[in-house]
Every structure is written in structure tokens, then in C-alpha cells.
Symmetry: C2
Subunit: 524 residues, 2 copies
């Protein structure tokens, strides 16, 4: 794994690829320097002095090894990657624990509680919101990164109920391979799926690739098991229940601040046998939005209903004539999908959408989309290494508020990019759609000034987040709160709910050791 950028270092674009990328970027930013910045050799990275040593209580699975500390300092936010490239690892944890059992995790929590050490659960390390960074108040005697990768097995499969008991440290490919041996798949494919883990999806309520119905990991969870300093919070395996507030819904979104998720029973499905898709172009973005809304409200439940604005469509190679593009797809393990795609396409055509090729049966929707989707994080890292400010943010809002929110966000980000960087590009897609509203996802790109990247980014981020909040959006549809979104989350969240959450935190984590700074602060 790259210590600063996305994914595996040997998959990172090589010199020729970077030069090609720079040429494409220069079409938009003629003045940009675009000189690739090489990562520093590991020995030149700057780490803080150790505050604590690995204790005998955790012997055998806890280290203060320099490489381990480097690998557990950051997630993959823009801020993380810029600091990584600079060699700034000031937030490195003192210790990294790699437990293989729940007993070892319990030992970690016990030792941390007794010694005022912050414990920061770590899955794939792909947080884009500062969710795994040991930015902790001085009252702690140190920080421990609790890496769950040692728990990565599918422990049990129930083919009748179509559910599997999976350990939290399993990454997407690792759990899918084990499920595939039994003919099943979880089909939760966030953009981070190569590296991210089941626990890393549940804790921050990650979004997957389904555009409707099963949009978040929440919808695939049958039951959860979380170790807390107060004991094991395990819910019963149930398809549904009406017995009090749903305990899984406290675990989902807990972001490592209430406990350490160790395993979950997940709803799985056979691999799809039938697929149908269509790529629909719209000259007018508003018409495309209306089409997406009508499909979302139709009860057809497409697996894909992604809307790309003209810039996104061009950048993703889906369209080059200034059209917005709606990608529709259905998948099923049970039945052919012609009536479904026909009706969805008719709805889109009713709003002026053009689909000359008609619906097609395909293994994945829209040509190069899937490849581009999974390579996007590498692309972001490559752009950062070329000195570009390149980041994304996402929200959700009602259809009624969309026009106003969208216009305000575009204005605010465009203006902030102008102030901070002399101008930039903003593009939009809908990643998920609901009967009552879409989840717009924004990408922005501009040349950064070496040394000033974090301040430039902060100015744009603030403008974007303020606009989202002011116009009825949520600070995050599926990227989580972490440390980056915390100020806006605090504004979005009702006071009494904060009080209830703080009380729950104190009950489950009385020493306040779990991921301090994320989600909620312990009671004073």
C-alpha cells in the first residue's frame, strides 16, 4: 500500500501516464505547472516522538514500529495525501495493534481505558473525512491505532436465509472471494472497495453502488457485534423487529466512537444472472434531473440510476458533446429485466432523453464507467501529485430543494476556487436517488500553490459545506462525519439528539478512549 496515496504503490500511474494526465489537465488550466512531485523516501518522513511503549499486556500484537505508525497515520482525504506527500506525519499514533481475536481487542480497550490512551479503530484506512487520524486532545497519554485486518474471515453462511457472518476486518475482495465459493455475493461496492473493510463500511454508514433501495451498508446489515468498554453489544439475527429503537442503528454511524465492530451478519445474494442497461443523453441538465426523479419515484428500483452532468460525462468518457447522461441499469438473479428497463427508458425519453442504441443486456452499465469508477481514487492521487487541488464532496436533499441547493453550491465553490486558486472546475453527478430526493456528488479541480494547499482546500471546503448546510442538505450522504465534517455535523444535529448521543457515549465508553474527536465529545 502507498503510504500517502490511494491503493497500491505499484498500481500508481507511471511517468508516462502522469505526463498524459498533465496534458489533459492543461487543456483546462493552461498556466498550471503540473510537475509531478515524488513521494519522499520513507526515512525522510517526520514522525513525533513516542509517548508510550507497547505494554506487556498487549505483547505479540502491538508495535511501535515506524512503518506501522506511518501506515496508520492517515486516511485518504485530500488533506491526508497532501500531508503525506510533504512527509508530515505529525499525527502518527504511538502504537499499532493488530489483534487476531476479540479477546485481544478487549485487552486493548481495557489497557487503553486504564492508561488514558486513545484507541482508534482502523479498517482499510480509506476514510476521506479524517476518521482514523490520531488528532487527539493533550489529556491522553498517547494514541493506539487498532487495525482489524487480522479478522477477515467469513465465519458462517446461512444459504436458506441468504446471510453470512463476516468479520469486520475483511476487505471487499477478501470477503467477496469467500462468499463466491458458496455462490453468493454481498454486492456492496463503494469506490474504495479494493481496500476498505466491512467494519469500515458499517461504522461510517458507507454507500455502495446500488443507486436505489440498498444504497447504504445499513440496508444489508442483519445484525452486528460490537465490543465496547462496557461489554459486547450484539444484536439478534432478525429480518426485522419492532422491539424498541433498533440497536443496529446505533452501531451504524458510530464511527469507532462507541465501540469496535468485530463482526456482522450480512444479507447476501446470488450473483445476478440477468442484466439490462441504457445510457440516456440529455441536452438539458434540468430534464435529466426530472428523468432521474421520475425513475426514482416509479417503484422500478434500478440498481443504477446515475446522473452525470456534462463535465462528469466528458471526464468519464461517456459523452463528449455537452450532454448530461443518465446511466440506468437493472440486475437480477431471478428474472429477465426487459419490462423494467423498457419502462425506465420510456420515462427518461419522456423527458427528452436520447438513447439511440436502445436498452442493452450488459455485464456492467455504461462502458468504461465501472473501470473509471474504481480508478478514480488513483486519479485523485495522481492529480494531487501533480500539484492539483482535487477533491469531492457529497450530500443529499429533497427534490424540492435541489435546484436551489445545486445553484448555491456551484456558486459558492466556483467563487471559492476563484479566490483560492484563481479559478477551477466543478462537476456534479447523482450517485444515489430516492423517491424524495437525490444524493448529489461534486468534484472540484484547480491548480494549487505548493505549500498553500491545505489553506486553499480549507477555503473551498468551508464554502461548499456552508452552502450545503444552508440549503437543506446533509453534511454527508455516505462519506461520514469523521473529524473534517464535525463542525457542520454539530450544526446539522439537533441539540437533544447530541445530548442523547453524548449520554450513550459516556455509558458505553466511560473513559472516553474511543476515537476522540469523532462524532461527539464525551460529557465534561
Amino acid at each position: 500500500r502507498s503510504y500517502w496515496g490511494w491503493g497500491w504503490a505499484d498500481k500508481f500511474p507511471d511517468g508516462a501516464a502522469l505526463r498524459g494526465l498533465a496534458e489533459r489537465v492543461r487543456l483546462f488550466f493552461q498556466q498550471a505547472e503540473l510537475v509531478p512531485r515524488a513521494a519522499l523516501p520513507p526515512e525522510q518522513l517526520r514522525l513525533p516522538r513516542l509517548r508510550i511503549e507497547p505494554p506487556p499486556a498487549l505483547a505479540g500484537f502491538c508495535t511501535s514500529d515506524r512503518d506501522a505508525r506511518i501506515a496508520h497515520t492517515y486516511g485518504k482525504s485530500y488533506r491526508d495525501q497532501v500531508r503525506g506527500l510533504r512527509g508530515d506525519f505529525a499525527a502518527a499514533p504511538d502504537l499499532v495493534a493488530l489483534p487476531k481475536t476479540e479477546d485481544q481487542i478487549a485487552s486493548v480497550l481495557e489497557w487503553c481505558g486504564a492508561n488514558d490512551v486513545a484507541a482508534i479503530p482502523f479498517g482499510g484506512g480509506t476514510s476521506v473525512v479524517g476518521g482514523v487520524e490520531a488528532a487527539i486532545p493533550p489529556r491522553y497519554s498517547g494514541a493506539l491505532s487498532l487495525d482489524l485486518r487480522g479478522l477477515d474471515r467469513v465465519l458462517e453462511l446461512d444459504p436458506v436465509s441468504r446471510a453470512a457472518r463476516i468479520q469486520a476486518g475483511a476487505t471487499g475482495p477478501v470477503l467477496e472471494e469467500q462468499l463466491a465459493a458458496h455462490g453468493f455475493t454481498l454486492r456492496h461496492f463503494p469506490q474504495s472497495v479494493e481496500c476498505s473493510t466491512l467494519g469500515g463500511w458499517i461504522a461510517p454508514r458507507a454507500g455502495g453502488h446500488y443507486a436505489t433501495l440498498y444504497t447504504h451498508i445499513d440496508d444489508l446489515v442483519e445484525s452486528t457485534r460490537m465490543l465496547t468498554p462496557r461489554g459486547v453489544l450484539e444484536s439478534r439475527r432478525l429480518p426485522a423487529s419492532g422491539a424498541g429503537p433498533n440497536p443496529d442503528r446505533l452501531v451504524l454511524g458510530s464511527e469507532g466512537a462507541l465501540g469496535v465492530i468485530t463482526e456482522a451478519w450480512m444479507r447476501v445474494t446470488p450473483r445476478p444472472r440477468f442484466r439490462a442497461g441504457a445510457t440516456v443523453a440529455f441536452a438539458d441538465f434540468g430534464n435529466a434531473v426530472a428523468a432521474a426523479r421520475d425513475v426514482a419515484q416509479s417503484g422500478l428500483h434500478p440498481s443504477n440510476c446515475r446522473l452525470l452532468d456534462a463535465t462528469e460525462a466528458m471526464m468519464n468518457g461517456v459523452s463528449h458533446d455537452g450532454s448530461s447522461v443518465l446511466l440506468l441499469a437493472f440486475e437480477s438473479a431471478d428474472h429477465a429485466l426487459d419490462p423494467w428497463i423498457s419502462r425506465a427508458l420510456a420515462i427518461a425519453q419522456g423527458h427528452g432523453g436520447a438513447c439511440p442504441e436502445g436498452p442493452v443486456a450488459k455485464s456492467e452499465s455504461a462502458g468504461g464507467w465501472r473501470k473509471a469508477f474504481l480508478e478514480a481514487p488513483y486519479l485523485q492521487s495522481a492529480l494531487i501529485s501533480l500539484g492539483m487541488l482535487a477533491d469531492t464532496f457529497e450530500t443529499a436533499c429533497t427534490w424540492q430543494r435541489l435546484d436551489e441547493l445545486h445553484a448555491a453550491v456551484l456558486d459558492a465553490v466556483t467563487e471559492a476556487l476563484r479566490r483560492a486558486c484563481g479559478g477551477g472546475i466543478v462537476s456534479t453527478r447523482f450517485t444515489h436517488v430516492y423517491p424524495d430526493g437525490p444524493a448529489p456528488y461534486y468534484t472540484f479541480l484547480a491548480p494549487a500553490r505548493a505549500g498553500a494547499e491545505l489553506e486553499q482546500w480549507a477555503e473551498v471546503k468551508q464554502a461548499a459545506a456552508d452552502a450545503v448546510l444552508a440549503h437543506g442538505g446533509t453534511i454527508t450522504h455516505h462519506h461520514a462525519v469523521g473529524r473534517i465534517h464535525r463542525p457542520w455535523y454539530d450544526r446539522e444535529r439537533a441539540g437533544p439528539f447530541a445530548a442523547a448521543l453524548r449520554a450513550a457515549k459516556s455509558a458505553l465508553d466511560p473513559h472516553g478512549i474511543l476515537n476522540p474527536g469523532v462524532l461527539i465529545d464525551p460529557a465534561d
Copy 2:
């Protein structure tokens, strides 16, 4: 409204209807007396002495009127109706408040907090689990029933996002009538829909008539507004969010113990224009279960997928030859449903189901089903008045555990009915189905002994609930916890979740005045 039985007194079966019912019951229970027991005249009902008087702070909307106290003593559980028929109103609240504004509700909470008076939110009074009964510990100086019926308006409609802001005290017919004026419907039709309210659905996570996808009111909630002694807990209108644990999920299931729900934004839909249904008979219950499971796992998402065992099918007039019956139905405001019903029917036929008439387009599924569904609560009251032990309970479990749970429940209840009543009938249906399991719903019927009904009922209830819990079920899929299910809920719920919930309760309701005894006890 009847002060003891279901619904409106003038809709209660008359003498001839009761004699007809008695004749039908005697087919099964030859020895049963079946003498209709008349309700006592209101002046003979026994109420406890008032502990407190209506205070000046609540002048104009708070009363200690005897009729109001009677009408707010009970829900509609078997225990409630038996006690009502006996004239036993020992649990009557001292006061009944009928606020028309949130300010008045806030005044109630403030006054109750300052005076140690228990405040018990009351919607339609249809709880079947003791959720509205003032069975409170002696530390309280009295009890106030907080009736929300004065808040029953649809306040706002957003036709673009298909959502409506509705006050919590609106009953099903009252809110549907207001929505219909704009061409929309909520389509949440629990069996209690004539009398129950929006707040009374949200607080206990009520189940509606949809058999898949939108099974609970949870799935129709866009945002909620709840008054707590700590202030207003209002969530943002969002189609979805990933920002921390979902606040609505703390409100859903709070059962009046965390706050008073005053309004919610609800997802609405145009009335269905297309319908398709099929009634499929199975000689073997196991085959019918397999068919229901395959349909639930097909991704077809029928609006109805009710399985009736042979006894239920007979009692509901759907089949008289000992067959189990699967009722399938689809509805849509967008598209014709032939491909959907054809595939679902093919699945059912693949398991040996017979459907000689084939799929039909109909306004409601399966002939007399809907009428029988809505009249069932009157029927239960009539049976109770004839001296019968007549009650239902429900659960949910994985498909894998179903056979074992179902056999154990039938054994336990049959044996308990034999011990308590000399024998009885148990029937089963699935009200809702999920990819990973069904929600079985049981009805039991036996002759009771006058004066011993509550003990007989308790023996059967305990056997049923113990069996459900022991074999992987939940104590309730959609009837809530209330006071009746509390002992089993405490066993079902993980200890650390109870600790978190208790802490949240103390944070939101520091004086512990809200619906004491339900869900969770305040911290000591």
C-alpha cells in the same frame, strides 16, 4: 368509541351477529357457554380516587372528568378488554390533557416534571401491549394521559419530493382524507388504521399492510419532530444521510418514553393505478413457506405476500379444503404489473401452488381479505364478550430458524391452552416477508373461565413468548414492547444497548416522567 372493546360501540356486532358467531365457535368448542357478557353501564365502572387536580398551568385543556379518565385508561389488548368488561379501571389516569399546540404540550411536560407526574402519550389508544396504561410506580404523585388528537392536520405538502408534514394526532382516515385532496396517499394501513394515529405508528414502529420493502412506518419517515423535556429533537428533511447514527431511529421505537412526537414529514405516493394479484393454494404448508421465501428473495417486491395456514385460510373464508393460501399482490402508480405477477405466480407454482383462475387485476387482493382484516379487531372484542380467550402475537425470525421456531411455538401454545383452558386453536399467517426471514403472526382461541381470564391468558402468553425468544425470534415484529412485552424485551436486548438507551433516556427525560415502565427504566 367503545370504552372497553374495539372501535365504535355502534359498529359492535349486534345480538344476532353474536349468536351467529357463537354458533360458529361452537363447531370447535362444543362445551363452551358463549353467553354474551354485556358491558357495564359507565356509572358502575370502578375508578381510583384522584391523586391530583388539574393545575392552573394547564387550564383549558386538562381535565379530571370521569369519562375522559375511562377513555384513557386502556389500550386494546386482551387484558385491557377483559378488565374493561369487568368494570375494573384501577389504572385510570388522574388527568387527561388535550393540547392543541406544541406550546401546550411543552407546558404539560414542564408541569409534570416539576410535580413528579407521569406523562403518558396517547394517540388512538389502540396499543395491544399496555403502551398507554398508567401502571406507574408509587413514587409518582399522579398520572396524566397526554392525548394528541387535537393535532391532526396535514400542515404542508411537497408534491415534487412526494412528502407531507403531518401532525402526530391524525388518525389514518383523517390524514388520508387530507392527502387525497392533493392526489396522494401515505398507504400505511395497519389493522388499527381506523383509530390509530401517525404518532401512534412512529413511536412503536408500527407495521403496515405492505408485505415487503415498506413494512414498517420507519420506511415512510423522512424526518421527525419530538418534544422532550430537554427541548425539541427535530431531524432535517433528508431522503437519506450518513451523518452519524440516524436520529429518526432513536425516535422510532421510543414508545413515548423519550419524548412526545408532534409531527413528521412522511413519504407519500400517488394512489395506485395498476394492480395485479393471485391467490395460490398449497396442499402442504412447507411448500407454501418455500414459495413465500422464494418470492421474498426474488427482488419482485410484492405489496402483498401473505401466507395463511389452513386454519387462517378457513377462518378468513379464503379456502375451506385444508389448503394453505398465499396471497400475492402488486400495486403501482407508474406501470402495468403483468410481468411482476406472472413471475411471482410462476415461483409459487414451481413449489406446487395451484392458481386455477390465474392472475387477476383487482382493486384489493383476495376477495374478502381486506374486509376481514379490518373487522378482525371487532371480532376479537366480540369473542371476548362471549367469554373466549382470543388473542394474537407476532414475531420475526430467519428462514433458517423458522421450522424450529414454528414447531416450538405451536407446541408451547397448544400445550399451554390445554393446561389453562382444556384445549384451543392456534393458527398462523405471515404478515410480512423479507429476503432473510418471515414475520409469523399467531392467533389463539379457547374458552375462558369467567373470573380467571387474566391468569389463563398470562399462562398462554408466557409460553408463547418464551418459545419465541428461545428459538431466535423477536418479542415483537410490529406490536411494540409496551408493558406486556417488557420482560422478554429486556432479555432480547443486549446489556450495553440497554445502558446506552437508559443514558439517552436520562439525558432527554431527566425527571423520568415519560411513560414510566415502558421500554427502559430511568437510571437509579
